[in-house]
């Protein structure tokens, strides 16, 4: 008897593997560092109607390879289909769909907040609570750097918005697998 296959396969027992995961996914993609690669990745997403929530690109420890980290909503897109389409790009070397429990994910954001004298203290206090850094102070504004999960950055945004958010810049998440002992 063959290992691993049942004696009889009944059609009613066959099922299609689940399609929508319903959660946010972080895909960590290693690509060849060649001209046009990012256009290929981005073009694939727009062409197939997949929405990218965030996208971050940077070098790796190997200069011939870059890493693209992108997040997308698994409630809207079948992640399996997204990764299979990505794999068809010849310059894409490896794709990891990061498991949330096994992953450290970080994003950085810069907030320019209007800071009249009377609410400056409160903003500084928020920054301390969020372990954020004040990186620039002008007469009417302060710029604060926040690093953390996307949730933390969004929480900080909610706190400072009532004080007058002049501008916000976010990098998009990057992620790395947790180490194993």
């Amino acid at each position: 008897m063959e290992a691993g296959t049942p004696q009889v396969v009944k059609l009613e027992d066959l099922h299609v593997a689940g399609q929508l995961s319903g959660r946010k996914h972080i895909l960590s993609i290693l690509v060849e560092n060649k001209p046009g690669v990012l256009a290929r990745v981005a073009g694939l997403f727009s062409r197939r109607g997949f929405n990218i929530d965030t996208l971050a690109v940077g070098p790796t420890d190997d200069p011939s390879i870059s890493r693209v980290t992108l997040t997308l909503d698994g409630a809207v897109h079948p992640i399996d289909q997204v990764t299979k389409q990505l794999h068809k790009l010849v310059n894409v070397l490896k794709i990891r769909d990061m498991e949330p429990e096994e992953t450290v994910a970080r994003e950085m954001a810069l907030f320019k907040v209007s800071s009249a004298v009377e609410n400056r203290a409160e903003i500084i206090q928020f920054a301390e609570i969020f372990r954020a850094k004040i990186v620039d102070v002008a007469r009417r504004t302060m710029t604060i750097e926040v690093t953390g999960s996307a949730d933390k950055i969004e929480a900080f945004e909610r706190m400072v918005r009532p004080h007058g958010l002049v501008e916000m810049v976010r990098t998009g998440e990057i992620a790395i697998g947790r180490g194993h002992d």
Partner: protein, 559 residues
């Protein structure tokens, strides 16, 4: 040029221009044939026809700018139909790139959505390497178009060609071909359990040259087979187990069989919307075994219960072996066959025969089948005539039916016939053209004449863009908008002006005889066949409907 020769290239198609002058200078001494077409799009389609007829990689050249952009339709067409092709474009000199130089176009950017892969040459020493990689990518895995864009200064550079000894290795490209044996065993057992199975085969079977393997699997029991437009000929149409084509203009039996099946075995097919009709109502009772070389096709449109990623040529023999080993009782299929035969008897392909010598388009295809002994390579344009050819010609062998399925490119027929004839000079190559389509690439009659490529064009002339007219009649209250082609051109004179032979036929009694004469003629022929003007193509699944709602040709009341 040396790299192309090393890839076994025998024929290429194209047009020279400023930015590929160095390449064309080298073409004079090249050991392969260059067919000088009259429009780059046609060169691209010729390369496709070449590839589809022979299985070899088709190659087309164009210059930069407009030459390159003229290729875009052909590249997109090759992508949709997975045709192994390499397109080589000239580009402006390196220092001009990005300056909006004369005849500069970002062809790499423009074609990104339509290529399997593309290369921009930045150093002349890359050229041989990229050529070999391009041929490897175009012809392996799921085949497709690969673009190579070479700036003029780099194609001009003198480099030494060092013959390649190593096979091409691309770290990001490893198609899996074998098929997971565990999945194959489960598939065999599912087949053994099925009482209403159907094989749904597509162009992948032809691309994989797996017709024999398909026949052996189908012969391992009495499995019914239907095929997509692109897969016709992979399984013989004359087999009594072939249910005809499926899809929007497929047979009623094939579509109803999909609707009632308990197990669909999809082989090298991709559940295109023209196959499924309304997706939510597609094959409601069926489990799906999906065998395809491209993992991204699996569960893209229709969820697969048993996915098998692999080359069908490798997977099918394994499935046959596993299935035979189960020694199932084929009488379980009796009831299914009774049902299918009942449908076939009650709902054959049907058209109202003409009473007055008027040529019915369906009759024209039947006459062509007889005149060519059913053994020609047939190309077509896109529209009603394409569907009638698919329905009525009856393809028994693979690579005999060449058409634009996925992109649906009007004007594909004549240039792809040129490509097919160049690839297979000893075969009879005919093009069934539509009058709306043929005019879009009619300039290629000049290519046929000057390059002595004796293709035979049978123009199904109803004076309309017939399929669009049919939709306007059926779904837009007969409000005909810009579909009447008028009486221009005079096709016989046009053919003669190009130096080809023009013929005309408007009587069904003479048609077959005239077709034989056209086929026996030495040079290229264009026969203007005047057919019934407002004939509709049936059966039809109205757009957005389910297969079971298929509409048949209305029959005149028997009085």
């Amino acid at each position: 040029m040396e790299s192309l020769k090393a890839e076994g290239v025998k024929d290429v198609f194209g047009i020279p221009g400023g930015a590929n002058l160095p390449t064309y200078d080298a073409m004079i001494d090249a050991e392969f044939r260059h067919v000088q077409v009259r429009h780059e799009q046609a060169g691209g389609h010729a390369a496709e026809g070449y590839a589809k007829a022979s299985g070899r990689v088709g190659v087309a050249f164009a210059t930069s700018g407009p030459g390159a952009t003229n290729l875009v339709t052909a590249i997109a067409d090759a992508m949709m139909d997975s045709t192994p092709t390499v397109f080589i474009t000239g580009q402006v000199r390196t220092e001009l790139i990005g300056t909006d130089g004369f005849q500069e176009a970002d062809i790499l950017g423009a074609t990104l959505p339509f290529v399997k892969h593309s290369f921009a040459v930045t150093d002349p020493r890359q050229i041989p390497e990229y050529v070999h990689e391009a041929f490897h990518l175009a012809s392996t895995g799921r085949p497709g178009p690969v673009l190579l864009d070479i700036p003029m200064d780099l194609s001009r550079a003198d480099i030494d060609y060092v013959p390649r000894t190593e096979p091409v290795e691309l770290p990001g490209y490893k198609p899996s071909t074998e098929g997971n044996i565990k999945q194959i065993r489960i598939a065999a057992k599912a087949l053994a359990s099925a009482r209403r199975p159907i094989f749904y085969t597509g162009g992948g079977v032809i691309n994989a040259n797996a017709s024999e393997e398909l026949r052996e699997l189908a012969d391992s029991d009495r499995f019914p087979v239907t095929s997509t437009l692109m897969g016709l000929g992979a399984f013989p149409a004359s087999s009594d187990r072939f249910l005809g084509m499926l899809g929007m203009h497929g047979t009623l039996t094939a579509n109803w069989a999909m609707d009632k099946a308990d197990l669909i075995v999809a082989i090298g097919a991709r559940f295109d919307d023209r196959i499924t009709g309304k997706l939510t109502e597609f094959a409601p009772h069926a489990k799906v075994i999906h065998i395809d070389i491209d993992p991204a096709e699996i569960s893209k449109n229709v969820g697969a219960h048993i996915p098998i990623v692999g080359d069908v040529k490798q997977v099918l023999p394994k499935l046959t072996r596993e299935y035979r080993a189960l020694q199932t009782d084929s009488s379980r299929l009796d009831e299914w066959w009774n049902t299918l035969r009942g449908w076939q008897d009650a709902h054959p392909l049907y058209y109202e025969p003409s009473q007055n010598g008027e040529i019915k388009p369906q009759f024209m295809i039947e006459a062509l089948h007889r005149a060519s002994q059913g053994d020609a390579i047939v190309t077509s344009d896109v529209g009603q005539h394409q569907m009638w050819t698919a329905q009525y010609y009856g393809f028994d062998k693979p690579r005999r039916w060449i058409n634009s399925g996925g992109l649906g490119t009007m004007g594909f027929g004549l240039p792809s016939a040129i490509g097919a004839k160049v690839a297979c000079p000893d075969e009879e190559v005919v093009c069934v053209a539509g009058d709306g389509s043929l005019i879009m690439n009619v300039q290629e009659l000049a290519t046929c004449v000057t390059e002595q490529i004796p293709v035979k064009v049978f123009l199904m002339n109803n004076g309309y863009m017939g399929m669009v007219r049919q939709w306007q009649e059926l779904f837009w209250d007969r409000r005909y908008s810009s579909v009447d082609m008028g009486s221009s051109p005079d096709w016989v004179k046009l053919a003669e002006a190009f130096g080809a032979t023009g013929m005309r036929c408007d009587d069904s009694a003479d048609l077959e005889e005239q077709m034989v004469a056209a086929l026996e003629h030495d040079g290229p022929v264009l026969m203007d066949v005047r057919v019934a003007r407002e004939e509709n193509c049936y059966p039809m699944i109205p757009p957005g409907n389910a297969a079971r709602d298929m509409v048949e040709a209305p029959r005149k009341a028997v009085g």
